[in-house]
Amino acid sequence: MSKEVEEKLRESVSEILEQFAFMFTEDISAEDNLTGEILLGSIFFTGPQSGIIDIAAPESLCREMVGNTLGLDDESCIAIEDCENALKEIVNMVCGKFTEDMYGNEKAIDFSIPSVVRLDSGKWKEKVRWVYIPMEVEGHALCAALEIVS
């Protein structure tokens, strides 16, 4: 998988988090540092190529994303469903940005309905993807991943 593809995914995640959740990302050279239970958002896309994009993040980061997006000072009132919905929207927007950067915007690309599951970070690390991009988002770990299937 080329560095160019990795960079496009990285930029897509950074841009969407900045524009939607007003949060800034930092690249980290270390391996994915997710620990404990995480939320995993996934979406399939079908176009000139088909693939899957994952975004794995701790609930604490998703909670902060919801708070920032909706302008809430008190994050304790944010339900887990809101965290899951926010991650679904983010993975959806990242997919839109990434596929536009990869394939242009002439032809329509079909997206699946994004899904979110809770799993242990150990299980996440067992998944096989072509590209893993660990990032730090204002003190929280996050990992974006991509696999092109055809």
């Binding site: 939607f20 909706l70 302008g71 929207e89 927007m93 997919c95 915007n105 329509a108 690309i109 997206f111």
Partner: protein, 135 residues
């Protein structure tokens, strides 16, 4: 005169984000109605005087496209502009939607600037539009 705006999206996060974004535009807004699918959107249009609709495409029960089709059959589209907000950025999809009567298309994530410009373009005419954009 304040505008009544309808936001149709199955995601409560997006509806909340749209509400916050609309409030940041500085436009004179009377009421923001919300619906979580196309059918609820049509129900809101029947009950309320709505000036502009912002709608997602993929929703359960009734999609944004199906809602636009129903609005066409009810002759609502000439009076109530529909703006689709979507993560899908393809020109092909935008062209398909405009053929069905959608007036404009905004890519997610939206910004107050984009929303304000689209709303002014679709609702304000002549000198009023210039004032709207200069605020």
């Amino acid at each position: 005169m304040g505008y009544n705006i309808l936001v149709v999206d199955d995601s409560p996060i997006i509806r909340g984000f749209m509400r916050k974004t609309l409030e940041l535009t500085g436009l004179e807004i009377e009421t923001i109605f919300e619906a979580k699918n196309g059918q609820e959107g049509l129900d809101q249009l029947e009950k309320n005087n709505v000036h502009i609709v912002f709608a997602d495409i993929n929703m359960p029960v009734m999609t944004g496209v199906e809602m636009v089709n129903e609005m066409f059959l009810k002759s609502l589209l000439p009076k109530i502009p529909v703006v689709i907000i979507s993560s899908d950025r393809s020109l092909e999809r935008q062209a398909q939607l405009k053929e069905k009567g959608v007036r404009a298309y905004l890519k997610k994530p939206i910004t107050p600037e984009n929303v304000k410009k689209i709303t002014c373009d679709l609702l304000e005419l002549g000198e009023q539009r210039k004032e709207c954009l200069n605020e």
